[in-house]
C-alpha cells in the first residue's frame, strides 16, 4: 500500500449505496442495410467461407474418431478431439475485427478459433510477409509439405492450406505440425498469426492471457489479448484471480498515465452452456446469466454483456466495441458469448446429460445455414456461389487431411534422437529482450546500490570474527543487486507479487527497488498466487522477462497448476516456438509452523520442464540469480528465510560488486575431506559444516562438504568424484524426507558409484510431520547432531560415540510402517 493513497475513515464509514451499470443482453439488432455499409459482400461471404471451413475441418476429425475414416481417408487418431461443431459463428465473428497483432488464447475446444484467427490474419498480412512467416517458421517444414499438395495460384490460398495443414499435422502429432506435434489438438497454436497457447486446463488461459496483455501495455505493444475460455471456467480460482488482477486500480491511479491504462484484456467466455456435462447456468453455478459476473469485479462491471454467438455479426460488433474500450485503457472487458456444440464434449460423450430435442432445436438455428440464408436474402451471394464454396472447401480439406495423415509426408518426431528432450529447455542467454532504454526512476549510481556496494562484502574479519551485520552485505541484499542489475539492463523485465513494492517484499530483498523502478515494472498484486504465476507465464511467453514472487514456498499450492502445468510445459509444447524467461522467486520459511515453513523444492524438481536453483550463501544468491535472470528458461529460485540476513562467510573473496554468474548445474565443494562426503541442499549447508568440524575435532575424521546449489540441471560429476574418494555419503536438506529430491540423488549416486560405496547412501531430511512450532524446531529439522548420529549409525561407527537421536536403519522401517 503506497503512502500516496490514504484510507480515510470518514469516507470508509460513509452511508451510501452502490450503483451498478446495467448489463446488456443480446443487445445487437441485425440491420442488413447498416451491415452492408460496414462490410462489403466479399467480407460477408468470407464469414460464410470460414465457418464452413471450420465445420468441414472438424467433421473430418469427427469421422476419424468415430468411424476411422472420412471421405476415403482411413485414419485412427489416438489423441483427443474436443470438437466445436455448432460454435463456428462465435469464433469467426470474433476475428472479424482482430488483427495479427491481437492475441487469442483458447481452451481444449479451440480448433475453430485457431482457424478463424489464422484466416483473418492471412487476409490482412501482405504476401511477402506471409511467405516470410511460412518460410521461417520451424524451418519451413510445413510449407514444404503444403507446396507438394497443389499448385497454388496465389499466396493467400497457399497460406490457407498451410494453416489447415499445420493445424491437422499438429493434431496428428507430426513433426511438421505447428508445434511439431508436441501441442496436439488441445494446444495447437501459431504465434505469427496471434494464435497463442490453447490450454487444456479449464480456465488456464485466463491468467496467461492477462500476462500477455500486461506485456502489451508495459512494453507499449499494439493489440489486445482475448482469453477464449468456457462458461464453467468462471468458477475456477485462476480465472477469478485473473479478472481481479486485470482490474486493479493502480493501472489508473499509480502507473505512468502515458502507458495508457489497464492491460487490454478481454475475457471472452465461449458459453456453450456445458462444462463437459454439468450446466453452469441452472445447475452448477448461481449467476443466472454469466455476464452478471462482471458486476463483481469493478465499477465498470468489466463492460460485460451477453452476446448472441449464433450471429457472427453480433459477435463481431461486440468484439469491435470491446477492443475500442481496451485500447483506450479502460479494461478489462468481458463477453458472455452464447453458443452451442452439437458434438459431444469428446468422442466418448454419450450425451446422457442433454436431450436429443435440445440439440435438434439448436441445429434448426444452425448459424452457417442461417448466415447462408442471410447472404442470399440480402444479395451478397447466390446459391451457386455458396455451393461452390462448399465444394471447394470439401475438396481442399480432404486433400490436406490426406497429406497430414500420411506418415511419409508427415512424419513423427524422432524420439530415439531425444528430439523431445532437446525441446525441454531453450537454454538461451539474453542480456535484454528488447533493445530500447529501460524505464527507471533514478540513475543506478544514485540507487541503493550505492549503499550496498560500499558494505563489507565478506562477513568475517581477518581473524575470522563476524563483522557488524548492518555494515555487511547480506543474502537479501545480494538478491537486490542481481535484480537491480537486470532491471537496468533489460527493459522488458518486470517483478511483482505480494508486498513487492514499498515493503520491498515481505523479507526486504527488494528494499531500494521502489525508489529506482517505476510502478509498471515493480508492483504489488492481489493475493492471487495462481494469477501471479500465470500472468508471469503469459508475460514471458509474450516476450518479456518476468520475476514473480511467492512470499512463502507453502503458497505454491495456490499456484500449483500455473507452476506444474503452465510454467513448466509451454516451451516444449510450443516446440520452442516460444521461450519462458521466467524466474519464480520462492522463499522457504521458518519458525511459522506447519503452513509457512516447508521446503518444496522436491515437488518442482519432479516436474519436467523446470529449472530449480537453491543458493545457500550470499555469493551464490547473487551469482545464481544473475544466471537465472539472463536465461530464457523457467527457473524456480528457492531462497531460505534462515539466510536473508546472513552475510557471505564461505566464499573467501566475498560477494563481488560487479556482475558475475555461477555456472549452471555445478555443485560447490566448500570443505575438502577424505573420509566422508556430505552433500546438502539449501541452508543445511551450515549444519553440515558444523558436523564436519565436530567430526574433525572429536573423531579425527575429514569430511568433505558439497553444496548442490542446483536440483535441476545438476552435474553429478563432482559429487561422484567425491564419493569415489570417500565411499561414504550423507545427503541432507530441510525438505521432509519422504519423496525428497535427496532420494533421487541417492539413487543416482548408488548407481553411478556402486563399486565405490562403503555404505548405502544415507538420506537425512526433516521429519515427515507437520512443521511444529518454532520452539520445537530441533525435533523436526536436521541438525549437526543428527548428521553425526546418522553417520555413526549408517555409514561409519564412531568409536566411543553415543548418538543423541535415533537414526538407525530400524528407524526407517518403524517410521514408514507408522506412515511418519
Amino acid at each position: 500500500m503506497p503512502k500516496s493513497l490514504t484510507i480515510d475513515p470518514r469516507e470508509a464509514r460513509q452511508r451510501s449505496l452502490l450503483r451498478a451499470p446495467e448489463i446488456p443482453v443480446n443487445a445487437y439488432l441485425s440491420d442488413p442495410g447498416a451491415e452492408a455499409e460496414r462490410y462489403d459482400s466479399a467480407e460477408l461471404v468470407n464469414i460464410y467461407h470460414d465457418m464452413r471451413l471450420i465445420r468441414e475441418f472438424e467433421l473430418v476429425l469427427d469421422g476419424f474418431k468415430k468411424a476411422g475414416s472420412y471421405r476415403g481417408i482411413e485414419y485412427n487418431h489416438l489423441g483427443p478431439a474436443h470438437l466445436s461443431i455448432g460454435q463456428e459463428a462465435a469464433a469467426v465473428g470474433q476475428c472479424l475485427h482482430l488483427g495479427p497483432e491481437d492475441y487469442i488464447l483458447g481452451s481444449h475446444r479451440s480448433h475453430g478459433e485457431i482457424l478463424a484467427k489464422g484466416l483473418s490474419a492471412i487476409r490482412v498480412l501482405e504476401d511477402d510477409c506471409l511467405l516470410d512467416i511460412m518460410e521461417n517458421y520451424m524451418g519451413g517444414a510445413a510449407l514444404r509439405v503444403v507446396e507438394g499438395i497443389d499448385d497454388f495460384s496465389d499466396i493467400e490460398s497457399l497460406a490457407q492450406a498451410y494453416l489447415i495443414y499445420g493445424t491437422y499435422a499438429e493434431i496428428f502429432a507430426r513433426a511438421t505440425g505447428f508445434n511439431r506435434g508436441m501441442g496436439g489438438s488441445m494446444h495447437t497454436f501459431f504465434p505469427p498469426f496471434g494464435i497463442m497457447p490453447n490450454n487444456a486446463i479449464v480456465g488456464g488461459s485466463a491468467d496467461i492471457a492477462l500476462g500477455m496483455a500486461l506485456f502489451k501495455r508495459i512494453n507499449r505493444k499494439p493489440g489486445i489479448v482475448v482469453a477464449n475460455i468456457g462458461d464453467s471456467s468462471v468458477a475456477s480460482g485462476p480465472v477469478w484471480e485473473a479478472m481481479n488482477f486485470a482490474a486493479m486500480d493502480q493501472y489508473h491511479r499509480l502507473w505512468d498515465a502515458r502507458l495508457g491504462g489497464a492491460p487490454p484484456m478481454l475475457f471472452n467466455f465461449m458459453n456453450n452452456f456445458y462444462g463437459m456435462g454439468g450446466q453452469p447456468q441452472g445447475e452448477t453455478l448461481g449467476f443466472g446469466m454469466l455476464a452478471r459476473v462482471g458486476l463483481g469485479v469493478n465499477a465498470a462491471a468489466m463492460h460485460s454483456e451477453r452476446v448472441d454467438g449464433y450471429d457472427p455479426l453480433a459477435v463481431a460488433d461486440a468484439t469491435r466495441r470491446k477492443k475500442e474500450v481496451l485500447l483506450a485503457g479502460q479494461g478489462p472487458a468481458m463477453l458472455d458469448v452464447i453458443t452451442y456444440r452439437y458434438s459431444g464434449h469428446s468422442p466418448s460423450d454419450a450425451s446422457s446429460y442433454r436431450g436429443r430435442d435440445e440439440v435438434e432445436m439448436w441445429r434448426e438455428q444452425d448459424s452457417i445455414r442461417g448466415f447462408g440464408a442471410y447472404l442470399r436474402a440480402n444479395s451478397h451471394a447466390d446459391n451457386q456461389t455458396l455451393e461452390d464454396i462448399n465444394a471447394l472447401i470439401g475438396e481442399k480439406i480432404t486433400r490436406i487431411a490426406a497429406a497430414a495423415t500420411d506418415l511419409g509426408t508427415s512424419p513423427r518426431l524422432h524420439v530415439a534422437r531425444d528430439e523431445i528432450g532437446a525441446m525441454m529447455f531453450s537454454d538461451g542467454r539474453a542480456d535484454a529482450l528488447d533493445d530500447r532504454e529501460a524505464d527507471v526512476t533514478q540513475p543506478m549510481a544514485e540507487s541503493r546500490f550505492e549503499v550496498t556496494s560500499n558494505k563489507h562484502r565478506f562477513g568475517l574479519d581477518e581473524g575470522g570474527k563476524p563483522l557488524p551485520k548492518l555494515k555487511t552485505l547480506t543474502y537479501a541484499e545480494a538478491i537486490f543487486e542481481a535484480m537491480l542489475h537486470r532491471f537496468y539492463q533489460d527493459p522488458t523485465m518486470i517483478a511483482f507479487g505480494e508486498e513487492n513494492r514499498d515493503w520491498g517484499g515481505a523479507f526486504g530483498a527488494y528494499r531500494g527497488l521502489t525508489e529506482a523502478i517505476p510502478y509498471h515494472r515493480l508492483f504489488n498484486t492481489p493475493i492471487s498466487e495462481a494469477a501471479i504465476v500465470g500472468a508471469a507465464v503469459g508475460y514471458a511467453l509474450a516476450g518479456g522477462r518476468a520475476v514473480p514472487e511467492l512470499m512463502y514456498c507453502d503458497f505454491m499450492g495456490r499456484a500449483g497448476d500455473e507452476i506444474f502445468n503452465q510454467m513448466a510445459k509451454w516451451q516444449a509444447m510450443s516446440a520452442n516456438a516460444l521461450r519462458m524467461p521466467l524466474v519464480l522467486r520462492v522463499s522457504v520459511g521458518m519458525k511459522y509452523g506447519a503452513q509457512h515453513s516447508q521446503d518444496w523444492s522436491s515437488l518442482v524438481a519432479h516436474i519436467p520442464g523446470l529449472k530449480v536453483y537453491f543458493p545457500a550463501t550470499a555469493y551464490d544468491a547473487k551469482g545464481m540469480l544473475n544466471l537465472a535472470l539472463r536465461g530464457t528458461d523457467p527457473v524456480v529460485f528457492f531462497e531460505s528465510q534462515r539466510l536473508y540476513s546472513q552475510p557471505e562467510t564461505l566464499f573467501a573473496g566475498g560477494v563481488p560488486v560487479e556482475y558475475y554468474e555461477i555456472e549452471e548445474g555445478e555443485p560447490y565443494l566448500h570443505r575438502p575431506g577424505s573420509d566422508i562426503t556430505i552433500v546438502t541442499i539449501g541452508a543445511t549447508l551450515y549444519r553440515a559444516l558444523e558436523a564436519a568440524e565436530r567430526l574433525r575435532r572429536e573423531q579425527g575424521l575429514s569430511a568433505e562438504v558439497i553444496d548442490a546449489r542446483f536440483l535441476n540441471p545438476l552435474n553429478y560429476e563432482p559429487i561422484i568424484q567425491s564419493v569415489r574418494k570417500t565411499g561414504k555419503v550423507l545427503l541432507a536438506s530441510d525438505a521432509s524426507e519422504r519423496g525428497s529430491f535427496l532420494h533421487t540423488m541417492a539413487s543416482n549416486i548408488s548407481q553411478l558409484a556402486f563399486d565405490f560405496l562403503d555404505a548405502p547412501v544415507a538420506v537425512l531430511g526433516a521429519r515427515n510431520w507437520i512443521t511444529p512450532p518454532a520452539e520445537l524446531d530441533e525435533s523436526f529439522f536436521p541438525s549437526a547432531d543428527w548428521m553425526v548420529d546418522i553417520i555413526h549409525e549408517r555409514l561409519l561407527p564412531l568409536p566411543g560415540y553415543q548418538p543423541r537421536t535415533r537414526q538407525g536403519l530400524a528407524e526407517i522401517m518403524t517410521r514408514n510402517r507408522a506412515g511418519v
Binding site: A759, P797, L809
Partner: protein, 427 residues
C-alpha cells in the same frame, strides 16, 4: 498408545543379546521400571526394565532367542489395544511358533555370506586380500573399507620390482633379519646357483588341494590346544604278542597296536560326549555313537576314513574294518561316504618313531588324538626306577568349546584303559 519395549543397546560393540528368561507373562500387569526379562550379552547378564506401565500385551521372543539391540521385544499397553505395527517384521519361518518371531533385516546376515561393502570388496579384490575371516567394524558388522585397509597394513608389502624378481625364481628373500615394512629389491638375493632346475613345480590338485585348504581353515577357525601325555604300554604289548600267537582260526593275528588303540579310544569316548562332538554354526552337536576317523597315509596324501559306530564293535571286527578302510584308501577305491561323518579322529605317527606331536583338528570335530611311538620311560616303582614302555598320546581339542580339564580327564581315562587293555576287552 501401546509402547514397544526394545532390546537395549548395552554398549557400542554389543549388537545382540540373548533373552535368558521372562519374568512377566503376556496379560500380566507391569509397572514402569519393573524387570521384564533377564538378558545376557557376551559380557554380562542383566535385566530389561519396562519403560511403560500397563499390561504386557506381547512378547515377540522366547527365552533363548538372540535378539539384535534396539529391536522391539515386547509391548506394554492397555488390554485389547492393537500392537501389530510394533511387531518386528518376520524373517524366515521361525522354528517355534512364537508370535511373530523375527529379526531386524538390517542386522540379518545372509547365511554363509560375508557382509562387505562394495567399496571394501573392490579394494580387497584389487589388493588380493582374503577378508573371509575378518570381523567387520561397519554398521551391523559389515566389512568396510577401513577393515580391508587394516588387513593391508598387516601384510608384508612388496615393491613391484621385488615381486617380479621373486616370481622369476632366480631370487629369494635374503636372510638378513626381520623385514619391517616393505620388501624391495635390496632385500632380495640371488637364489643358489643352479637351484632352480632342481625345483619341481607341482600344481596342487585333488586330495592335496583339499588337505591344504582344510588344514589352513582348521588352524584359522579353531582355537587348538594340544595336551601331551603317555600311557603304560606294557599290557598293550603283552596282549598284542598273545594275539599274534593266537590260533589262526580266531582271525586275531592281524590285530595291530594301532587297532588296539582305536579300540581303546572308541570304548573311552562315550563317557566324554563333549569330545565326541562337532562344533558348527554356533552349535555343539554331541554324538551318541563314536564314528572314529583314522588318518591313513596314502600316495595321494592324507585320508581319514571313518569307522562307524566304533564303540560297539568287537576288537576283531574293528580291526578288520580298519584294515579294509586303510587298504581302500591306499588303493584309491574308498567311497566318499566312507570319508565323511566322523565324530573324532585318531592319527598315528608312532610307527615312524614320533614320540609326540600336535595333531591338527579335523573341523567341525573338536578332538583328535595323536598316537606316538612306544618308548621306555623311567618310572618309580617301590623306591626304584623301573623302565616301563609308554606310548605317546597327544590330544588336540578345539578350546573354543572344550576346556582343558575335561580334555585332561579324557586322557586320564584313556591312559587307564590302555594300561589295562584286557579289562577293557572284558567290558
Amino acid at each position: 498408545m501401546p509402547q514397544a519395549i526394545v532390546m537395549p543397546k548395552l554398549g557400542n560393540t554389543v549388537e545382540s543379546a540373548i533373552i535368558l528368561s521372562w519374568h512377566v507373562g503376556v496379560g500380566d500387569p507391569v509397572q514402569m521400571g519393573e524387570a521384564l526379562c533377564e538378558i545376557e550379552t557376551d559380557k554380562a547378564t542383566l535385566e530389561v526394565e519396562s519403560s511403560a506401565s500397563g499390561i504386557l500385551l506381547a512378547r515377540f521372543f522366547e527365552a533363548g532367542d538372540e535378539v539384535p539391540v534396539m529391536q522391539n521385544i515386547a509391548v506394554v499397553g492397555r488390554a485389547g489395544e492393537s500392537f501389530d505395527r510394533l511387531a518386528p517384521v518376520p524373517a524366515a519361518p521361525a522354528e517355534h511358533a512364537a508370535p511373530r518371531v523375527s529379526h531386524d533385516h538390517s542386522d540379518e546376515k545372509p547365511a554363509d555370506k560375508v557382509l562387505i561393502s562394495p567399496r571394501a570388496r573392490n579394494l580387497a579384490g584389487r589388493k588380493g586380500i582374503d577378508y573371509s575371516e575378518t570381523a567387520g567394524t561397519g554398521p551391523a558388522g559389515r566389512i568396510i573399507e577401513r577393515d580391508i585397509r587394516a588387513l593391508i597394513d598387516r601384510q608384508v608389502k612388496m615393491s613391484p620390482v621385488a615381486k617380479a624378481m621373486l616370481a622369476s625364481g632366480e631370487y629369494q628373500i635374503a636372510d638378513k633379519g626381520p623385514i619391517d615394512k616393505r620388501i624391495t629389491k635390496s632385500d632380495l638375493a640371488p637364489s643358489m646357483p643352479g637351484a632352480s632346475p632342481e625345483l619341481k613345480a607341482m600344481p596342487l590338485t585333488g586330495v592335496r588341494k583339499t588337505i591344504a585348504k582344510r588344514m589352513l581353515e582348521s588352524m584359522q577357525r579353531t582355537a587348538q590346544l594340544t595336551l601331551n601325555t603317555s600311557a603304560d604300554a606294557s599290557s598293550l604289548r603283552g596282549f598284542r604278542a598273545r594275539l599274534k600267537s593266537s590260533d589262526e582260526a580266531l582271525g586275531l593275528r592281524g590285530v595291530t597296536i594301532n587297532d588296539l588303540l582305536l579300540f581303546a579310544v572308541a570304548r573311552t569316548l562315550p563317557a566324554f560326549p563333549e569330545l565326541n562332538a562337532l562344533y558348527e554354526n554356533d552349535r555343539i552337536l554331541q554324538h551318541a555313537r563314536v564314528h572314529l576317523g583314522m588318518a591313513v597315509d596314502t600316495p595321494r596324501g592324507l585320508l581319514v576314513p571313518v569307522i562307524r559306530g566304533a564303540e560297539s564293535l568287537s576288537l576283531r571286527v574293528l580291526s578288520c574294518e580298519a584294515n579294509r578302510l586303510a587298504a581302500a584308501c591306499r588303493d584309491g577305491d574308498v567311497l566318499p561316504d566312507e570319508l565323511a561323518g566322523g565324530s573324532f579322529t585318531a592319527t598315528n605317527l608312532g610307527r615312524l618313531g614320533i614320540e609326540s606331536f600336535t595333531p591338527i583338528l579335523n573341523p567341525p570335530q573338536v578332538g583328535i588324538l595323536g598316537i606316538g611311538s612306544i618308548n621306555l620311560k623311567p618310572v618309580e616303582r617301590a623306591g626304584a626306577v623301573a623302565h616301563v614302555p609308554h606310548i605317546g598320546l597327544s590330544l588336540t581339542v578345539n578350546h573354543q568349546v572344550v576346556d582343558g580339564a575335561p580334555a585332561a580327564r579324557f586322557l586320564a581315562q584313556l591312559r587307564k584303559n590302555i594300561a589295562s587293555i584286557e579289562l577293557l576287552l572284558a567290558l
